[in-house]
Symmetry: C2
Subunit: 276 residues, 2 copies
């Protein structure tokens, strides 16, 4: 929920993918911020900043009347140039380094804390565009079968186990068998892997074709880096021969809900926001 009492300006900290443009549209006219050198799909940055100069950037946000920030889209772990640090940002490095070594989620929490320590309210994508995070239920016309529901439950169990060790946010299960597990290369690479390897592994050729399941990690900070599904995910799931896509309701972003639903309908895949 957006708190209207905090009606200062919103800054979008933009990374890769379709999310920044979708959130910018939903948010009216936020300040668009991007890491120097990164392209932002469909948007022209108002401010470019370098991570080595984070503190001057935060000062600039205050100067622009920003009180709220939201993170949108993925940023690959960037290389840092020690020569570019300003003294104030250099002071923050000892806070961040242990988090980098602990894994993605710790790092994201540490970054979020830096913004909150600087006095900003950090919003999640669902605060700005609730439509991108559908409530529990089946979307569109195709529904999972009982076998698909079992495959989704098995995949959810696997993703939860992986999440507990800070790995991946997805898995593919067919007929109870785990055909693939998501790791650093991401969902699309996992689906391509299933397309290349999985067909012959399903025990019953006429049985359940399998489910892609996505969920955030247990206890994941939901204001950053929620797993996402887009039309391309649906196309690749169809190419992998799957019956449909399920995800943890409230924990996964649909990047372009209409396009996702249209692709799923064209391919005959179900879309299911599953109650965890």
């Amino acid at each position: 929920m957006t708190d209207n009492s905090q009606s200062g300006r919103l800054a979008l900290i933009c990374g890769a993918g379709a999310l920044p443009a979708l959130l910018a549209r939903a948010a009216g006219a936020p300040l668009i911020c991007a890491v120097d050198g990164y392209e932002v799909e469909g948007l022209t940055p108002d401010i470019q900043f370098r991570l080595e100069r984070l503190v001057p950037f935060l000062d600039r946000l205050h100067d622009e009347g920003v009180t709220r920030v939201a993170f949108a889209g993925g940023i690959r772990r960037p290389r840092l140039d020690p020569a570019l640090f300003d003294p104030a940002t250099a002071q923050l490095v000892p806070k961040i380094l242990p988090a980098i070594q602990q894994g993605d989620d710790a790092l994201l929490r540490a970054i979020l804390a830096l913004y909150e320590d600087a006095g900003f309210t950090v919003l999640g994508a669902h605060d700005i565009a609730p439509d991108l995070v559908p409530d529990a239920g089946v979307l569109g016309r195709s529904a999972p079968t009982a076998a698909d529901e079992r495959d989704a439950a098995r995949a959810a169990e696997i993703v939860a186990a992986l999440g507990a060790v800070d790995v991946g946010q997805g898995a593919v299960v067919a007929q109870g068998l785990c055909l693939a597990v998501e790791s650093l290369p991401g969902t699309d690479a996992m689906l391509d892997f299933v397309a290349a390897t999985g067909v012959a592994l399903r025990p019953d050729p006429k049985g359940a074709r399998g489910v892609l399941y996505k969920a955030p990690k247990p206890g994941q900070e939901r204001r950053m880096d929620l797993p996402a599904l887009g039309p391309e995910t649906v196309r690749r799931a169809a190419a992998a021969g799957l019956a449909g896509i399920a995800w943890e309701a409230g924990g996964v972003l649909l990047l372009g809900r209409e396009a996702v639903e249209a692709e799923a309908e064209a391919a005959g895949l179900f879309l299911w926001a599953r109650e965890p």
Copy 2:
């Protein structure tokens, strides 16, 4: 350890891969048994049997003077033909079906129990050929660096989490990041995936190149289906750009230890039986 007081004949129940021939050589002249229609690499079966007629097969083993059996090599979940069951084997189906639905490890335990219930002693590969299961330590000339040791520890954590939900027995970690997780398609497919996707994902191009780690599932029945490494694994790990291979000491089979060591030495990879 082979118990010499149980000096009845040994039957090898053979599946796919190089293990049956390696165990047959180590065991002298065991009775070679294979599922009807399956080829056994380098061996000619003495007895072929069908799973639908398991009880008559067990009776035949008794007739041949067999008191000990060992399982060697993988058997993909076979399709069963209901028309072929004999009445005694049909009685066992209700015992097996729940295990099939619980996952691989439960199924293997149930099959092992059938042999034990029929009065056979079930040996593990390490009982017959201890040389295939090396003790803790580094094999060959290359040794892991401190960064490789950290990657192996991280991968071991991931494999343990996956094993707890009965998935996979391997993972690839480089510079602390999980590049791939093993699922049904197996280790070779995982390494090919890393070769195709992983190079650009390592944050520091001059940093640690990554480790393949393999381990049995926690609590896994070690007399069946131990994870295995062979010369082909080493070749694919080298093609994936990894620094070496580590595994849980005592829990992984080396299929052809000399060939594995020779391949690793040629490619400059370390081989490390890691104390869990």
